[in-house]
């Protein structure tokens, strides 16, 4: 997959990206279990205990306790994690959309626009993972702390290839500067490993990256 490396390098990079996504899924599951076995159980116990206590109170005080119970329940409900992208039963489009929504938009970029042309020859799970990981790694390397203003992720899959195009733009300036040069140097190194073709915008600080994943015939439609 790499431009300067070997096919073996590409397989290693793909495998590492797959493992990175699997690790994210595992961490998410661990967090969910921790929440269930800890705070959610405890909060449920508190809410049920409050209900028991308020039965002996005058009506006005009991009504206030009910309000507290409702606020506590609603606040805790916000802690519930969304459905994980790679949940069994999710199709490739759902996996990719959820992955980009949960793990890219608001995390690695302020606004994310997507164009997914993947329904005719849907990518396999491993290919979805590689696409998602590529987007995450490039955005993370582009700026480890701040988020770019906008990114467009376009994915197209055919029987022969899965193609990813990523375009990233910043709000902080229109002309390339020293920071932009540093960013591009870091990005080039990661892009080489990922097999991405990096294209800096000559006029602005924006950049684009493109990846084409060759597919084995059996992968198309899987």
């Amino acid at each position: 997959m790499t431009q300067s490396g070997t096919a073996g390098d590409a397989r290693v990079a793909d495998r590492l990206m797959f493992l990175m996504i699997a690790l994210q899924e595992r961490a998410n599951r661990a967090l969910v279990e921790e929440l269930h076995d800890g705070p959610m159980q405890e909060l449920t116990g508190i809410l049920l205990s409050l209900a028991s206590l308020r039965r002996g109170l005058p009506a006005e005080a009991a009504a206030q306790i009910i309000q507290i119970e409702t606020r506590l329940r609603d606040a805790a409900a916000a802690l519930h994690r969304p459905q994980p992208p790679f949940r069994p039963g999710n199709g490739p489009r759902q996996m990719l959309e959820l992955g980009l929504t949960q793990r890219v938009e608001g995390v690695l970029v302020d606004r994310l626009y997507t164009s997914l042309d993947i329904d005719v020859a849907p990518p396999a799970l491993a290919e979805v993972a590689v696409v998602l990981a590529t987007v995450q790694l490039l955005l993370q390397e582009s700026d480890p702390l701040e988020r770019p203003a906008r990114a467009l992720v376009a994915v197209r899959s055919s029987a022969e290839h899965v193609e990813l195009a990523l375009r990233v733009a910043y709000a902080d300036g229109f002309r390339p500067d020293a920071a932009t040069a540093g960013r591009l140097e870091r990005l080039r190194q990661v892009a080489d490993v990922l097999g991405a073709r990096l294209s800096p915008d000559a006029v602005t600080s924006a950049w684009s990256a493109a990846v084409r994943l060759p597919r084995a015939p059996s992968q198309a439609g899987g």
Partner: protein, 136 residues
């Protein structure tokens, strides 16, 4: 199934605190309640004889959905009498079973269980913090 005119509910949760508090809420709401801490204990209580089954999704190493699957073999309509308690919206649950997300208020629990048996509820609106499904 009823005991002294009260409908019967079985609460299955491995956490003793939740099990006892939930049982108290249901008792105060007019139910006759028995409790179990796991699948085997629940099965020993002949769960198909209850009007409502309140089952936590996670019962230590076991899953509440395993208990539901076992009961479904003997009574395909048993999901209509089941309420799954879940600590996470990501927990898998069959589509034909009502689910109540933790944390929930006592009234949320009582309402959800009353709905299983068609009894009047405290509030006709579904609780805001819970997820109510009933398709079966």
């Amino acid at each position: 199934m009823r005991t002294h005119g009260r409908p019967r509910a079985l609460v299955v949760d491995d956490q003793e605190m939740i099990r006892l508090l939930a049982a108290r809420v249901l008792c105060d709401g007019g139910w006759s309640v028995e409790t179990a801490g796991g699948v085997a204990e629940a099965l020993a209580l002949r769960p198909l004889g209850f009007d409502a089954l309140v089952i936590d999704t996670r019962l230590g190493a076991e899953r509440g959905t395993e208990l539901l699957a076992a009961l479904r073999l003997d009574d395909p309509l048993v999901p209509r009498r089941c309420l799954i308690l879940s600590g996470a919206s990501t927990d898998p649950a069959p589509d034909d079973v009502a689910v109540l997300l933790k944390p929930f208020r006592a009234d949320d629990l009582l309402d959800a269980v009353n709905r299983l048996s068609g009894r009047p509820t405290v509030d006709d609106d579904p609780p805001g913090g819970g997820r109510q499904r009933r398709t079966g």
